[in-house]
Symmetry: D2
Subunit: 341 residues, 4 copies
């Protein structure tokens, strides 16, 4: 059994980690740390866990040594406490933003604050099994990308790597309200957020930097909050290299993802389910990727969708844990999603 | 022109008052008071008013004398400040809960705190033109009922008054999230509230007391938050008196509301719009009332719907103002609602 | 392995059966029958199954012999074809309405058509493991109740059985749009149904008869379509017998459901998750049951919630299959539901 | 009084025309034509009109001569019947797609069928008062653009006209479900459409051609159905010409729209209402336009939002009528929209 602990367990990503770890047949969940809720049952905050666990929240100083420690904690705070986290577990899987960008200048540019643990930056492996599986098998420090970044990286990297796209990429990202977290402010009240199409980051969203870094292209990303609790969908556009056609794009994706358990190519000719839609992905660990070419094949439009709390966060982290500890990669992540939903 | 002022103008009811008063051809809006937003344009908080008004928020001490003062303020605070409000305007229309229940014991029972201005209690006329139009024509102090209470009163009082029902009434009230106001807590975050069916008051909701008082019957009310921003729908059940049939019920409603501009009887035999539904009432001042009898005519099920911020609040208050100042009763309240919506 | 087949596999209940059976470790899914889609991949209709099954739809005449046959078929058609269904499988689990009401007069009264297979009526065991587990262990014909009926039966029968309630019961049922099925008409278009509070059955909903039969009380039920795809919530009211208090109600529920894997008592003193809410149950097989007493303990308000396609249909049917075939009762039904969702 | 008639009055655009015309102080609505509903009250289909009109639907052959005829009819059918429509009214305002594209080749390319009335094509004036007010004052044939096209044209034409943008434009259009009309198919059932992020036109949406024609730029547009009944939001990106900065963009918009009653520039530095959002526009005739520049000012991101049934259809048509008949341009279009909503 893998002894696992979660810090930041009262939040939405934290709760999703608890859900997946409680249901994981090879995991013993030893700690659910919350700054403020010590002693309260975790199911009082995460009611879906009623009847599934009797665990109560711990405080930081009750953190016991574990095999794997998941950090669902705010940026800045995470890098400050990282030394003690590293001391308390064999493997640390960080879901904060602090170790996603290897360049301290880029970090400062996007986060507006200097990086406070630059010496640790290079020691983290990016938590994307589809790209870094071999390194993850032995990694003791894993940094899981942002929810929109994961969708962008999985959908764009194969095209960039194979040289199918040239020039700048634009990304229109749409996201549900759970991405704002359990402590969101009044702009996330239901009355304000319901049915909204809120362009909250017209330029310079932090996840933009992660996609740029992974693809090697300039990325211009806009983020819009849409009516959904869970779910991220990206609509990306990139100019195609000379001579690239639909067949080449499809072939690149097939080669990249033929054996991947959690990436599906979704690009049908017709029907209401032609392209990736987060609506059917809630609770699942899939990232669905689709595409369409302009007439003339000058541009490819890439569509990617995932559940921001699962493949965009907790599920991806558990997948990394499975890889790291030699478990079947899909263990505990079998839920298929619902239709209709 | 009627010079009007609003206290509590940054909230949802306050904003709706501004919307209606800015569009009212016989009103000059002289003050929009907010405790915290002095000097900020009202359209920074109520973006639907962009291009319609250049008004900025005032502080309390900038309150000028007006013909009519609308109070969209919290209970307790309202009764404490009532003397100064009464001194600042010819007519005060209060939308708080403080002057809705004439009996101080009932007030204390439902609000959990003693009434602090018992001497003023009897001086307010209930702001329901359909029941008290004549008294409202000369009333200087008007207390507008709660949103769910208005729906319950308008749909149940005719039956009670005509002796068609006997015994206890049950009310299943469903309400949108705007009823919780612009300062609602984390339980009203979109991620928590979206799609919820939250029984937040299984018994003893405050509006229950208002319906009981108006009908003279014992009322058992349950309130559930449903997925909607605006809108209240009540499903009421009452035992019918001996010999009452569908025709009698219909006749009672017709008699009561034949000439009313804002109450519509909606009880069709078929179709998707058979009964009142708040979905098509957003922004309108209608209260739709429908009904169905059990086989055997032992029980009547009464359905009522309205927009909680309009007929359940600001619109009803403006209708009272029109009555009080001798304006056409529907002036400024002509919006019909949207379909589909 | 249990060889399973589904008739009516293109619908919403059918699709949910496929989801659960494909993921069930002891089931081999041998047939997914659809009248019109023969040869098409099931994941073209149920996109959540992409990557999980390569099954294609069969026509009726391709139905092979199986251990268990699930019927997600329309009423009337089901009773007409029942003899052939019974001949094609060892165990038939019927999710249609045709064998839910043992009395042919009651059937005719609620379905508006005579029962055409009265001789078979008494041969079906009601598919509610919580009430009929022992009989289900050997039952070859199982009739799964309606979604709202299941919620009503599970929440009301313990009180009725223990004599805690007296007199008539009222039920306000709220239901999501998936209950109308994949072939619903224009009244279920998104533009019409979104945000609706549609009282589509003010009286005499068919599930009313099932609850009445199970409890032995007169039931008055109203059904309202609310904004949700999945989910049913019932708000029931019943007069309490003399001397019954909150402790007695709680004790009755505890005794009834202490060892049940899929019924949870949810009745907290405070918090946003006090009472059952279908919002967190999507995809799970739970029926959550809560209650509150009026001051004076004259009436109990019972609240029940479930996912209409799971515990209200396909999940309950799979649970019955598990009981019948001696599998662990929760096998394949472990999904906990999501929060937030 | 302007005598007005509507053909296609049972649809969503038709219903919106009825709502606006019934409430218009200078209009007498003489005909509401529906192919199938002759004799039925219009409020049986458009329940928001209850109590506001007693009009019943007419058949085509009951079409009387009017001052202005609004066509909310399907493309193809519209151009075939256009000669008789032109004969029946002084002014025809067409909301179908048939007379939006002056070039028959472009029409055939986007509509997949040859134009059948090429001789009439050049006789229609584009129904955008902000661009063609003077011509509209005397126009007897007006073609109102598509909903997404209107948003694209109003937000992009000023920049194109003033030479601020160079090169190709991309448009990410998001639309609510009412755009699919009252006769939409099963892909628009609530269970399928609710919460969807459905890329239904990855390339070559018809409205793309209208924006290209108006701006003179190549346009690549993608259309996604989002969770909303009403509302369109466009996110457009275009490369900026050398030396163009934020001030220049703002100045261009200010000059273009300073005196326009229905276009608002919405581009704030902060707050939850920074950019145009259709959420607060339901029922209003506004098109809100905002923008943001990339660091380095290489690209402008333009955001536009409107209610597809109002400024994107019926409201815009009524505005054209007001211009044509010399009425105050905003008459009957005063509704501000709701917040929250």
């Amino acid at each position: 059994m893998i002894r696992a602990a979660v810090v930041g367990a009262a939040g939405y990503i934290g709760g999703e980690l608890l859900r997946l770890l409680v249901g994981h047949p090879q995991v013993e969940l030893v700690n659910a740390v919350s700054r403020t809720l010590r002693g309260r049952p975790v199911d009082s905050v995460h009611p879906n866990l009623r009847g599934r666990t009797r665990l109560t929240f711990s405080s930081y100083d009750q953190l016991v040594r574990s095999d794997v420690l998941f950090l669902a904690t705010p940026h800045r705070e995470t890098m400050r406490r990282m030394p003690e986290y590293l001391a308390s577990a064999r493997v640390v899987i960080d879901l904060s933003g602090d170790f996603r960008l290897p360049d301290t200048d880029v970090y400062q540019d996007y986060y507006g604050t200097p990086h406070e643990a630059p010496g640790l930056l290079g020691t983290f492996v990016q938590g994307i099994p589809e790209l870094h599986r071999e390194r993850l098998r032995t990694a003791d420090r894993i940094s899981v990308p942002g929810c929109m970044a994961t969708a962008g990286i999985l959908s764009l990297v194969p095209l960039a790597r194979d040289g199918l796209i040239r020039g700048d990429i634009t990304v229109d990202a749409r996201t549900g309200s759970s991405g704002s977290g359990a402590k969101a402010g009044s702009e996330n009240l239901h009355a304000e957020r319901s049915g909204a199409l809120r362009v909250f980051a017209p330029t310079r969203h932090r996840h933009e930097a992660e996609i740029a870094q992974a693809t090697g292209h300039t990325v211009r990303m806009t983020a819009t909050g849409v009516e959904a609790v869970r779910g991220v969908q990206l609509l990306c556009r990139a100019p195609l290299a000379e001579g690239v056609d639909e067949r080449a794009v499809r072939s690149t994706y097939r080669t990249a993802y033929a054996d991947e358990p959690f990436v599906r190519i979704v690009a049908a000719r017709r029907g209401m389910h032609r392209f990736p839609d987060a609506k059917i992905l809630s609770g699942s660990n899939f990232c669905d990727v689709g595409f369409a070419l302009d007439r003339g094949a000058s541009t490819v439009t890439v569509i990617a969708a995932l559940d921001n709390l699962v493949k965009g966060g907790a599920g991806n982290a558990v997948q990394c844990m499975n890889v790291r500890f030699g478990e079947p990669e899909a263990l505990g992540l079998e839920f298929t999603g619902l239709h209709p939903n």
